[in-house]
Subunit: 607 residues, 2 copies
């Protein structure tokens, strides 16, 4: 299928290719060689899918689009305190080549004007200008996802004609903003502006910022997350020079343009855009580039201040232990307690990235449910991560609820460090940890046990054959004949009793003492427990219907003793006493019908 | 349960109450009467829940916090074109009382400085200043959720001492920015600054902006959504005067402060914050107010450029028609086709608010699944809404897939205008509409019918009793005896055959021709179809197990003819021929076991 996103971009490209107006940059001769018809667009998602159209592979020089990335590198290398003393973050309201230094400190007002960018280049790590350049090249390479190359002719041309920038560099030296040799730092700035990129590179650089600082394709971290917010903030207020206010107003995405004809725009958490078209407006921004961003923003409602989050999405389905009981087969006494009480077990399926607003909603729902709850299972399967601050609130809520007698447990957390670490780090004083279960079945069984109290324990006395529902209605004299068929077998804890796929030996097992788990293989590997059986229950009874293989595996959970009877023996007895077989089959069918009814209820609760 | 959010705010309040420094505003005598210890915080979620702490109900004058709301009113009343000619949106980099007019047009640089605010007040709808004030008061009242009241003493004091603002108003008149009498417009500006608010009002005003322009508690629309983005943009770049760049950099939320000691901050789509503490720093911002916003932003990662969206969340579970077949009981021939083909039916559960990035991901997954699919069911149950642009792309993808032979249908859309309207409005040329089903069961049955072709039609020939699986293995001579027990009954389309809860008459029904639906009552009212049965199938057979009442309702979908046999007649025959009863029970149990196995698979796919 051809992607409609791709089609949309192709249509947009076709329409805007017709847009005339603007002039190719001419302040250095090399830039005048650009073809005004070149026009490329690339959009890259935070999971690394690139949609390209037009001249997206045409190389050109990055120019001022390098500024946020070199500023980012300085922040990462020197820290916020050092950098913020030397370069401000206030919009200047002036054009790109304005000097705009703070009247007292001499600090450039922000890193997007030339003065701030030259200062930034002088601050990256490296003992001398050569090593600083290596650091800049390496850092830009991580943002792009490959090694950088220079356009030497553009670099020489910039260096030979950059008189105003020389003046700025000396002013910065005068104020002590540049510590070392200013002309060497300036050369690095000229070099960074001459780095070759294409639209695709720009879109990946933007997408790296959109993705919290991690390159969506290589997975390499280019920048710590806290610096990403800072860089995007400066782009939002200062990225488009004296057009910055209108840009945020109209387009609403942090962006940066360069006189080479490139523009990047970032929608945080969503995607990065790179556009290339050399003709510039009088403010030095690509005419088609601006129009592409405006159209994309308008057509898809991409303004960052567009309403984008919905806390209620943090909670998916809510259902109860009555809707989805554990797979443990309950005794009649257990069933009666659970019939009355199981709705006091609540499942809450949380989802997404849990932060303040989402967790506020989760906690609010938990508070509302508390009066009618004995326990809550937070199913974390669809949760991506939880912030430390959100985890702290959740732990506090858990503690409050515990004080009110409501237990809160987690399920499906295994190996999920992005959830477990924040939860562990933010335990309130006196809280020794949270309870977590492999799956909802184990979690709900634990919750049921709270409701069942002593009933939860398997029968202390050994179960008799006639306690088994399969023998319900079989007269006493007939049971004596049944006993004569039975042999006792014992299994050690963990022992397999039979395995899914085994050829059936026709044996039916009646548990005298201990418990067993019934497991079925999962298509994706591993097993799922479908039932837990206790004394007075039976397994392997499907062999009564003539099944040739076992459809499930059964393991002893504890030391287990069973009465075992062969189907052949039953059938031989039934030759003389057909009513025995009829009763067994009626009991078996009634048991299956009950299980089917519960499964149907469960499906209704899940769907 | 006490909310941990509430506890957090209380702790924050206690800690910051100790913060000293700053001076209560003194440029008019009335403001000096404020108690420097007053300190309130309120946070309101987009669904209207308010968390308040401290002096959140202490009234004070709104002052400059009125500016974005009156500017918003001018935008709503006059439109973007009119307003943007008269007030810019570029940060001035200057202090709040800077005049900052555009050197040529005389337009104030932005609406957050006094000049821009006075111009905004002069632009709201109304034939004269009195009616304009009524409009301002009405609009502020909608944002607050109740009628406004003035602090007359403050208003008189502002009016008596506002010499600089008089100068500004005459400058605006000089440039033609103010069309009418400038002193009358200025009085309205003084009035709007003297409106009484408390923290809770401020938080609701902020939350109204966070909520796309709709007051979270009253549900009244205060502003069109496109103007909300504009107002938030101006707050982001200009809201904190010459501190705006640093504010976005450090706190990362659109905000506005007033000399009364109030601050509002907005996290779009999430919540609004109102803080009140009179002592101000040298830039005119509340000292404690700024610290509250910084701490909230830092503790909870609230920066707007924090990575906030995850497109993959647009798709929840994906499973196939093999995991969750329709409830129609298939004939053996149908079952064989479906065994091989049903995995070519895909369910995709979409969720949340579908916009460009989410739909891009949805379409990408659809494209990946297409080669192994015959049809796709988009389950829309968890979708809140879809933007028109996203709906257009989804419709295009649907058309592309149809051309490739893959059908895309929707389920669970009923009454959901926020999804149906955008889908209907954006149908591509030549597309007459989308196919939509009440529930997944009806949708998957339609998809199965595509795979089944002619097999999907009920048997054309009448089914015989011996075709019924319940009689599998019953010898021919015995079947003759069974036939002797049967009577024929016919039902009109739509006729109830029996109803859930009916006392059972012991009849078992064997369908000769036509189809029936089996329905169970839902706890929340209504019925759910759990099966659809065709000729050669039976219903009511649970009576064989001695059930006294019917557990489901059965309706004739078409004209239906059945063979009907009473359980008593079976049992009488079984007295002589017990093997008949054994065979029936074996077949019944095997059928139930198969259904239970499929239900278990279904549960595994859903959970």
């Amino acid at each position: 299928m051809k992607s409609p996103i791709q089609s949309y971009l192709e249509t947009l490209h076709r329409q805007l290719a017709a847009l005339r107006g603007g002039e190719v940059a001419s302040y250095i001769p090399e830039l005048t060689k650009a073809n005004p018809d070149w026009f490329g667009i690339c959009l890259v998602t935070v999971d690394g899918v690139a949609y390209s159209v037009g001249d997206a592979a045409q190389p050109f020089t990055i120019q001022s689009i390098s500024k946020p990335f070199v500023y980012a590198t300085a922040l990462a290398d020197r820290g916020l305190a050092y950098v913020s003393q030397r370069v401000g973050v206030e919009p200047s309201g002036d054009a790109f080549n304005s000097i705009s230094l703070h009247p007292k400190s001499g600090a450039p007002l922000n890193p997007m004007i030339n003065a701030g960018a030259i200062a930034s280049a002088s601050m990256v790590a490296g003992q001398d200008a050569t090593r600083q350049w290596a650091r800049i090249a390496e850092s830009l390479g991580v943002f792009m996802g490959h090694d950088v190359a220079l356009d030497d002719a553009v670099y020489r041309s910039e260096s030979e004609t950059g008189f105003r920038n020389r003046a700025i560099a000396w002013m910065l030296k005068n104020f002590g903003i540049i510590a070392d040799e200013p002309m060497a730092a300036l050369e690095n700035y000229f070099r960074q502006c001459s780095v070759l990129v294409d639209c695709r590179d720009l879109a990946f650089m933007a997408a790296t910022l959109a993705n919290g600082g991690i390159h969506p394709a290589t997975g390499q971290r280019a920048l710590p997350p806290e610096d990403v917010e800072r860089v995007l903030s400066v782009m939002a207020t200062c990225g488009m020079y004296d057009y910055a206010g209108s840009w945020l107003y109209e387009v609403g995405m942090p962006a940066k343009s360069g006189v080479g004809g490139g523009i990047i725009a970032v929608l945080p958490g969503r995607f990065g855009i790179g556009v290339f078209s050399p003709p510039l407006d009088e403010k030095g921004n690509s005419v088609r580039g601006i129009e592409v961003c405006k159209r994309l923003s308008h057509d898809f409602g991409l303004h960052v201040f567009n309403k984008t989050r919905h806390p209620a999405l943090a909670v998916g389905r809510i259902y109860t232990g009555a809707d989805a009981p554990s797979r443990r087969a309950p005794t009649p006494a257990m069933r009666e307690v659970l019939r009355q009480e199981a709705q006091r077990i609540k499942y809450l399926c949380l989802q997404g990235h849990l932060e303040l607003d989402g967790i506020e909603y989760v906690i609010r729902r938990m508070g509302e449910l508390a009066p009618e709850s004995d326990s809550m299972i937070l199913d974390m399967n669809l949760v991506e991560d939880i912030s430390e601050s959100a985890a702290r609130l959740l732990n506090e809520a858990r503690q409050h609820l515990r004080d009110e007698g409501v237990a809160v447990v987690f399920s499906r957390l295994r190996g999920r460090r992005a959830i477990m670490d924040p939860l562990s780090k933010t335990l309130p004083a006196g809280d020794h940890g949270y309870l977590s279960f492999e799956d909802n079945d184990l979690a709900v069984e634990w919750c049921e046990n709270r409701l069942l109290g002593d009933l939860a324990n398997p029968l202390a006395d050994d179960a008799r054959l006639e306690d088994n529902p399969l023998f319900k209605g079989v007269p006493e004299d007939m049971m004596r004949r049944v006993y004569a068929l039975a042999t006792r077998r014992a299994f050690a804890p963990g022992a397999p009793i039979f395995a899914s796929g085994d050829v059936s030996d026709g044996k039916i097992f009646f548990i005298v003492s201990g418990t067993v788990s019934v497991l079925v293989p999962r298509p994706e590997g591993g097993h799922q427990r479908i039932a837990s059986l206790s004394p007075g229950m039976n397994f392997g009874e499907m062999t009564l219907l003539g099944k040739a293989t076992r459809s499930a595996s059964v393991f002893a959970d504890s030391k287990v003793v069973c009465n075992v009877i062969g189907t052949d023996d039953f059938n031989a007895l039934a030759e003389t006493y057909p009513q025995l077989k009829i009763t067994l089959l009626e009991n078996l069918a009634a048991d299956l019908a009950g299980k089917l009814r519960r499964a149907t209820d469960w499906i209704a609760a899940l769907a």
